[in-house]
Structure formats: C-alpha cells, structure tokens
Amino acid sequence: MSEQIVKIDGAVKRFGGTTALNGLSIEIRRGESHGLIGRNGAGKSTLVSILTGLRAIDSGTFLLNGSAPPALSDRNAWREAVACVYQHRTLVPDLSVAENLYLGQYQGKRMISWRALNQEAAAALESWNIPILPTTQVRDLGVGEAQMVEIARALNQGSRFVILDEPTAQLIASEIDQLISRVNELRERGVTFLFISHHLDEVPRVCDAVTVLRNGRDVLHGDAQKLSTAQIVSAMVGDEATGIALTASEHVARPALAPETPVVLKARVKLDACQDALDFSLRAGEVVGFAGHSGSGSRHMALALAGHISKWSGEIVLNGKSVPKPWNPRTAVERGMALLPEDRIKTGLVGSMSIEDNITLPSLKAFSKRVLIDRRARRKFSEDNRADLGIVCHSVKQGVGELSGGNQQKVLLGSALSSNPSVLVLLHPTAGVDIASKATILDIVERRRRDGLGVILVSDEPEELAFCDRVQVWVRGRKVIEKSGMSEEELVSAMEGFHLSPELS
C-alpha cells in the first residue's frame, strides 16, 4: 500500500488548441480529505476526468495507488479504485435504495432474492452509519440523503477514494452540516476524499490539505487549517489582478448617468427558494450584476424577473407600470423584458430554423403587414443585424445549427434585442464563446445600453461581471453584498461565501 493514493506530476492535457492542464502536480495522501479549489476553467473538471479514468493525460506522470493507472477501457478496475459523486444525481429514481446500491452488480444467474438484497443493503448502510431504509424509493429521498446513498454505493464497490464534486451546492445548511460530519466520520475510518467546493468556509471544516488550481496549474498547496481565506483567494485570482477595482478597468469607464435618468425596473421579489427577497431598481442605461454560483439564488431571481418562474410574491414595476400576474415569458416580452438564456442550444435557438427566423422570432408581429410577414422588411432587418452583430455566415437563410458557438450567441442576442426591450436579462452571456466574440457581444450590449437599455447580468465570472456598474452577490439564497467598484478578489471571495472587505485583507 502506497502512502499516496494519487501522485500527479507535471500533467499536461490539451483539447485542440486549448490547454486544460498545464503542468499540474498534486499529491493526495491516503486517509486525508483534500480540498480542490479553483475558479471555472481552472482545470478542476479535467483533473476529475483524469482521476476517474475518463481521459488520459498527454504528458507528465500519474500514479494511482503507487502504480501506473489501469487502462481507460478497464472500467471495473477504475470503479474499484476511484469513485466520483457528481453534482447531478446518477441514481435511478424509481428503484429502491437497495437496488441502486447493487445496480449492475446483482445480476447473477439465479433469480434475485429480494430479502437477501435488502438485508445486504441494510448491513452495508448500517456499516457506514447511514440511517436510510434500503426499501425506500430513491425518488422519495432528500438531496442530502441521495448523496449519502451515492457515497455508500461508491464505498460498496470497493473504492476507498471518493471524489465529491461540489457536494454542497444544492444542499441547505442543516444538510451541509450532516454531510460534513459524515465525511469526517468516514475519513476517520480510512476513506480518502477529494472535496471540490466553491464555498471556502467549508474547506477548513472538512479538509486536511488544500490544492488551489489556476489556469490548469497548481498554484498553492497547504494545510487547510493554516491557510487563510485571503491567501486562497489571491491564489485563485492570481497576482496579476490583485487589488485592481474591476469596475474601474477601461472597458467600463462609463460616465455617471444623468440624475433625471428614469428607473425602468423596480422589483421587490420573494422566492420560496431564497431566504432574502430581491429589492432593487434599475435605471435606463444601467448594468447591474447578479453574482453567485449555481444554487445561490442569483439566477432564480433573474428568471423570476423575466417571467420564467411563476411562484413569487411581491411586485415588479416595469416602465412605471406594475406587471400583471401571471407574469409569463410572453407578457414579459410584450412589456419590454427580454432574456438571453445561458444554454443557447437547449433553450435559446431553434436549431432547425434559419438565422433570419431565429433573429426575428420574438418580433414577428412587428414584421407582419396586414396578414402575412413582410419578407422584405424582415430580410432587411436580419441583414442589418448580421452586419451590426458581426455574424459570420454566407447567408441569413443559413441554419443556425451550422454556426460556431460565438456566432450562435450573436444570433441569440440579436433575437433578444429584436423586440426592442427596455430591460435585458443576460445569463452567462459569454460562456463557451471565443475571445473575439466575447468582446463583440459585450460591445453590442454596451451600444444598446447607451441608448437606454437596462441590463441585468447573471454570472459567476469576474471577467463578465466587470462589465457591470454595480454587482450584488448572492450566496445560498442570501444577498451578501451590493456595491460598485469591487476588486476581483473581493468579488470572488464574496461568491465563495466570504465577505472580505479590502481594509481587512
């Protein structure tokens, strides 16, 4: 038995032109809980895919339990060595806990003995001190309980090394406490954990050691009990960004709005899922950021404003008029509220339709002359937009499915703007988009902003949030801070659940 479960040295992994891992080294000792921290795109997911044997590194060394890792195709060997509990559930909801524990493994030649299966499952659950009945349907379990079943399944398959990928993102506070105490208990019994989290406050409660990744490289190793949050945050953010107030950077040096600038949106919204109510107003030409990771409430609030969540209480006043209930996407678009969804393929574009069709989808009524669509006006509008938005294509009749991600995003933005909204809600507008398109997309929004468009930008990327005049940060349904001129460090630590005021750090 080797002292190190994982020993990676100088790992490099490239995907086409992008380098996901760039000389990463990490050591995970047997029996420790190891925290893995880094912002989106730092290389965490790539590292997980390598540790679970889904991908191989291009160069560098990787020792698993002190020897070369099994072949990628040998799934059984990997399953016995490493288990990963992902953010999304991998249990079958309509089967019992016992069946899920032995899924794919209880397929002997004999008939299944339910009694034996349930007894075995009960014994396994008891041995890991997980108080769940094996006959319960997984559907009826809470999020935290289902997670424990996933961990039990991993341990049952022989693995003593478990990766927890943002396990607390969807849990409420009491469930998080439970999970943390379970993880600590299991660690006492010799289970090794790699704990990936966006919430830095959890790290010292769970982890012995910490590795911080940035740009595909390990930038900080240390004792979780000794490192300060400020040290971790500055390692995540990097030296180059330290201390610079984001909103003072060049691309958002906007003049102050004139004092008589009208308020386009005023909202007091309370959602069941969030402890705090949203209470804010947006003036014409203003850009407000809703910052926060998934499960923080920032996205939910924005969706409620755009009419995509019907269960809320309170009041939304758009252009001086209180919005009607039910506040649905259709009424929202009619009243001048547009949404740029984050997943352009799944919820944004109609892949089977042309650029022209997509770009005019919310505004077809405006292009209708008497009965039919005025094709000439519509063609002119889409050609103008194509030039204006810089969409690279050979014709606006081309299907959107054939375009690159950046161009698709431009079409989607054009579509959202086609109804001439007074408020635009952007969800991660530049995610998965090439650098040139990123700049163009923010440019287009900036031009419309100057004409008086109010913008709400939902993101967890400091680069995107730098576009905002002020940012409110949400963590687990609570608004922790709202201000302008936050530094990248301040923003990142606020989203990770720590409010660092610059004077203290």
Partner: protein, 335 residues
C-alpha cells in the same frame, strides 16, 4: 467579416445540391419513376378515369395528412384524426338528418349538418389539445385512447350499419366535377396553397416551426406555446372532418368503419414527404408529395393485379425505405 469570395462561391453549389437531397424534393424523381413503371405495366394507368380516381383518393388522404403535418411540425402528434375522419360526418348526419331511415333527425337541415361536421372536428381537436397540452398527457397514449373511444362511438351510434341517402349538399364536394377535375381535388389544392403560404409567410406559421423545433426557445421568445398547440389540434380536427366528408361524398354513404387505418397512411405520407416526427421540420407541399407517391404506388400495385391483401405490407416497406433514404441523405439530423 466574411470569408474570401472563393470560399463563398465554392459553398453555393454544394448548398443547392444538398437542398435537392432534402426528402421533400427527393420525392419528385421517385414520382416520375413510379409513373413510368405504372405506364409500362398497364396502359390503363395513364387513362383519365384512373387519374381521376387517384386524384380523388389523394385529395382525401392529402387533406387528412395536411392536418397531421401541421400537428407534426408543431412537435406533437394525433393518432385519433382517422376517427375524427369517420365520426365527424357521421355525427352531423346522424343528429340532423333522416339518413337511411335511422338517426335522431333533430332538424333535417343539410346546412346545419355541414356546420355540425366541422364543429365536431374542432371539438374533438380541442379535446385532444386539452389532454396533450394542458394536462400534459403523452400524445401517443392520449390520442390512441381517443382513437379507440371515437371509433367505438361511431360503431355504437350506427350499430355497425351504414348511413346512406345523404343529401346532395353533403355529397357534392366529394363527388362533383368541375372542368374535368374532381371538386375534392380543387379543395385540396386550395388548402395546399393556403397552408403553404400560412406556414411559410404568416407569423403564426413560423411560430409552429419554432414551437416544434425547440419549445423552450419559443417560450423565451415570448411565443404562446400552449395556445399555438391548441390551435394546431383544432385545425387538424377540422381538416380531418373535411377529409371524411369528401370520402363520404365520393362513396355516397357513411360506413361505421369510415377512415379506419387511414392514419397510418397519413403518417407514411408525411414521413415520405420529409416531415420530421421530432417536430420543427417538414413542409405541407412535401407531405402532399408523399401522399401522391403513396397513392400512386398503391394504384400501380392494384392495376398490376397484386392481391389487395398484400398492399398494406408494401406500404410498410415503403415507409422503411423512406426512413433509410432520409438517414443516408443526412436529412434526418435529429439522430
């Protein structure tokens, strides 16, 4: 921002070629081949009488298929259309006329019967729409249930008998001829034009494709998805009722089995014509091409004295071949 003119020029002819590989155009050469084969096998194929019959049949199936196609484009489907095809004319006639000595004979007005026929189609469509759109039942199961239910009602109403002695107002569209062409054909042609213009140039027509192609995106764009889908079911029900009326007129009676198994031919024709069962793809014209092909092939088979019992089997084979072709030509992008 555009590429050099050389690449742009090189792309253009390729697109024309790929356009021709779209299943709705791929059907044209096949139609020609079928006509040549038909003419070679039996000289009666090219006769006026044969074409007259083919066109009548194609019109009835065509109107039903157009209704189905509208539903398919919007991403749903409706199996019960064939029951509407049979039941709607029956309800109109049974309630309001003294047809064949049976019936409720409430008003004895052929005009009211005509209105009742379309109303029945619309109501059945609305019923299906409520089940599928608002109660969110699976379209397959829900419309299968209405298919069986409505078929049962037709049987129960007539006790398996055939309604005959229809007034001329009801039989006229199905049997009359204008300028040598059957009226039903002119009706179908008119609907083909109207629906083609509607789906390509009316805003609600474009919304159909958006709802079928990506309902979530349609919702984000502010399209009233539920209302559009309801409308689609109602229109399809009315078209099925019209198609049923035309067939009843042609055979001058309403058997309790009117329209039985016709939905499978309508599905076959739509698929042959390049309509995607996943929604968002296909045209009314393509579906009508599919109808023409299906009816012509069946006609050729009949004229070649293939036993009637084997004709259903060939329809199944044709659908499979069409699926293979759309897979190979890459038109089936969903998978």
């Amino acid at each position: 921002m555009t590429h050099s003119p050389i690449t742009a020029g090189a792309v253009a002819p390729k697109r024309v070629l790929s356009d021709l590989l779209q299943p709705e155009w791929a059907i044209l050469p096949v139609l020609v081949v079928v006509m040549i084969v038909g003419a070679a096998l039996n000289s009666a194929f090219l006769s006026y009488d044969n074409f007259y019959g083919v066109v009548q049949q194609a019109s009835e199936l065509g109107i039903l298929t157009m209704g189905l196609t509208v539903v398919l484009i919007a991403g749903k489907f409706d199996l019960s259309l064939e029951s509407t095809f049979g039941l709607a004319p029956m309800v109109g006639v049974y309630c309001l006329l003294d047809a064949g000595g049976s019936g409720l004979n409430l008003a004895d007005s052929p005009f009211l019967a005509l209105v009742a026929i379309f109303l029945t189609g619309a109501l059945i469509g609305a019923f299906n729409g409520i089940l599928v759109v608002y109660l969110k039942f699976n379209a397959f199961i829900a419309t299968l249930a209405t298919l069986i239910l409505l078929r049962g009602i037709s049987l129960g109403l007539t006790r398996g008998e055939t309604l005959s002695d229809l007034p001329s107002l009801l039989t006229y569209p199905g049997e009359a001829t204008v300028l040598g062409a059957p009226v039903s054909f002119l009706v179908a042609l008119g609907l083909l034009v109207i629906l083609t213009v509607f789906t390509s140039r009316h805003r609600i027509g474009r919304m159909l494709y958006a709802v079928g192609g990506n309902p979530q995106a349609a919702r984000v764009a502010g399209i009233p998805v539920e209302r559009i889908l309801m409308g689609v079911f109602v229109v399809a029900g009315m078209l099925a009722a019209l198609a049923g009326l035309l067939q009843a007129g042609r055979i001058a009676s309403i058997p309790s089995s009117l329209g039985q198994n016709l939905i499978f031919n309508a599905f076959a024709a739509a698929v042959l014509g390049g309509v995607s069962l996943n929604g968002g793809r296909g045209t009314i014209a393509g579906a009508c091409g599919g109808v023409l092909l299906l009816v012509l092939i069946q006609d050729v088979l009949v004229l070649s004295q293939v036993p009637a019992y084997w004709i259903n089997a060939t329809t199944g084979g044709i659908i499979l071949i069409a699926l293979f072709i759309s897979k190979i030509s890459g038109a089936d992008k969903a998978n």
